[in-house]
């Protein structure tokens, strides 16, 4: 099992969800957690105008999605996120990042199921 966390542009969320649905929905809907976050990468914030002054805002608003999947689905998920989140054509600085990490345990609170059946 892996936990996949991706930081994407907020406006790409819809495209990412569509791409994920295409590879993960097999008679069942995939699970996802979505947060609004802020931070900075190579895009390094953005410039706003306030009262004729340029103000550099250090952090940019991004969307963070968290998905946990069984090993067989890891590559498909990564590919789908990349497909949905990359701006046309060929991507741009600020498109985001995908982090993949091992997942020790999953527990479904309602039933107590554990591991791959609970993901």
């Amino acid at each position: 099992m892996k936990m996949i966390i991706a930081i994407i542009r907020p406006e790409r969320l819809e495209a990412v969800e569509e791409a994920l649905g295409a590879v993960l929905d097999e008679g069942d809907h995939y699970r996802i957690t979505i947060d609004t976050v802020e931070g900075r990468g190579r895009q390094e914030g953005e410039v706003e105008l306030f009262r004729g002054q340029q103000v550099r805002v250090r952090n940019v608003q991004k969307t963070r999605i968290t998905i946990c999947v069984n090993d067989a689905y890891v590559e498909k998920t990564i590919a789908a996120i990349q497909r949905g989140a990359r701006t046309e054509p060929g991507g741009a600085v600020g498109d985001g990042k995908i982090f993949v990490m091992p997942l020790d345990e999953v527990v479904r609170i309602r039933t107590g199921e554990r591991g791959s059946t609970a993901v």
Binding site: E48, L49, F50, R51, G52, Q53, Q54, V55, V57, R58
Partner: protein, 417 residues
């Protein structure tokens, strides 16, 4: 009951319009609260809005108790009004007419009272996010009593000494905007800048509020300016129509002019810029509304935006923190408006444009008197406050935001279900 004199004849149209105008001017106070409230950081949104709202409570009482008596009571040498019978308005019978204008005096009292309420609230834009709230409350009442009431008497009362010298101030360019703007600058200088001024990004929490506020201000301003025709005509009609038209014209031209300035200077037209342009245009036309033709109102609006646009940049050059540009827009716009009134006026007297330079001189006198009196008076009041209550919020209050410390509330709980 007093022996009834011949029952006064009220003009229904004028009375209805003045009641409406009074309500419109009061609406400018929440408008101002939104305008200012949107521009500060989230942690200070309530205190900033409260600084406008409390004026409705404080001056709403002060005006009825003594404010009207001081501003419009029997003149004492042209310098201050006073009439014991006007205290708490107790001597004003509901049937008593105001002068020969065909409206009940109580309606006039209320109309003028709204001006007295919004004027000190304008000052709050310069002290936002750092003035001690308690001191602000005391300042507001003392300033309204010792600065606003005398100035209103000098300029607007029939026996006021500036009025007698022919200074024109149709709806308050001098009494309201110069007085508030200059006082704002003095307070900003005495307070010192916010600790994050030029150190960290200070960004507005919600420009949507600011734009909403600008819209309400414009709407209310029709009462402010077109309502002020009550001083010169009975029944309300032609002058009110002129003032309404010039108000609309100047605001529009000023908004357009600010947009073009920004486009040229920064390559972008900002929403705050357009809103500021509207306000600058409304300020500049205030002293002139019933005195100039619409074409010249357009010119005044356009000029006001250019001047105010550069005036709000001065604070960055000279390091004073006029947080929300109370001086840059109201002070500077008020001065420009008062002087241009002397250039473009055609009724009841002619200005420089028609070859008569005398009015411009009178306008300059009014401007100079307002600057010295309001600036000096504010310095004295604030000096006393500084030595007693203290002017500035504590550093902890400023870091955390005043909302939580002063009011025990936060403006937004959007993340709560």
């Amino acid at each position: 009951m007093e022996a009834s004199v011949a029952a006064p004849v009220f003009d229904a149209g004028s009375t209805a319009w003045m009641l409406t105008s009074s309500a419109l001017v009061l609406l400018m106070v929440p408008g101002l609260a939104l305008f200012y409230g949107g521009m500060v950081r989230r942690k200070n949104v309530l205190t900033t809005m409260m600084m406008s709202f409390v004026a409705m409570a404080l001056i709403g009482v002060q005006w009825v108790l003594v404010g009207y008596a001081l501003a419009f009571g029997q003149s004492r040498g042209g310098f201050i009004g006073w009439d014991p019978a006007l205290v708490a308005l107790s001597g004003i019978d509901m049937n008593r007419a105001y002068s020969d204008k065909g409206i009940p005096e109580l309606v006039f009292v209320m109309f003028q009272g709204k001006f007295a309420i919004i004027t000190p609230a304008l000052i709050s834009g310069a002290v936002a996010e750092r003035m001690r709230f308690r001191s602000y409350l005391v300042f507001t009442v003392v300033w309204a009593t010792l600065i606003y009431c005398p100035l209103a008497h000098w300029v607007w009362a029939a026996d006021g000494w500036l009025f007698a010298r022919g200074v024109l101030d149709f709806a308050g360019g001098t009494v309201v905007h110069i007085a508030a703007g200059v006082s704002a600058l003095v307070l900003a200088l005495m307070l010192g800048p916010r600790r994050d001024f030029k150190r960290a990004a200070i960004l507005p929490n919600n420009l949507v509020l600011t734009l909403t506020g600008a819209g309400l201000l414009w709407f209310g301003w029709f009462g402010f300016n077109a309502g002020s025709a009550v001083a010169v005509e009975h029944p309300a009609g032609a002058t009110a129509g002129l003032a309404f038209t010039t108000t609309q014209s100047a605001a529009a031209a000023a908004g357009l002019s600010w947009m073009l300035m920004e486009r040229w200077h920064h390559g972008k037209v900002t929403s705050l810029g357009l809103a500021s342009g509207f306000v600058a245009g409304l300020v500049v036309v205030t002293p002139a509304a019933g005195h100039v033709r619409p074409l010249w109102a357009l010119v005044m609006g356009a000029v006001a935006s250019v001047v105010c646009y550069w005036a709000v940049q001065l604070k960055n050059r000279f390091d004073y923190d006029d947080s929300l540009d109370a001086f840059g827009v109201h002070g500077v716009g008020g001065i420009v408006g008062a002087l241009l009134t002397g250039v473009f006026c055609f009724t009841p007297v002619q200005g420089l444009l028609d070859g008569d330079a005398a009015q411009l001189g009178k306008q300059a006198l009014g401007v100079a008197v307002a600057i010295v009196f309001a600036g000096g008076g504010t310095f004295l009041i604030a000096s006393v406050l500084k030595a007693t209550l203290g002017l500035r919020a504590t550093e902890q209050e400023e870091r955390d935001g005043q909302d939580l410390h002063v009011h025990g509330e936060r403006g937004y709980h959007f993340d709560q279900t």
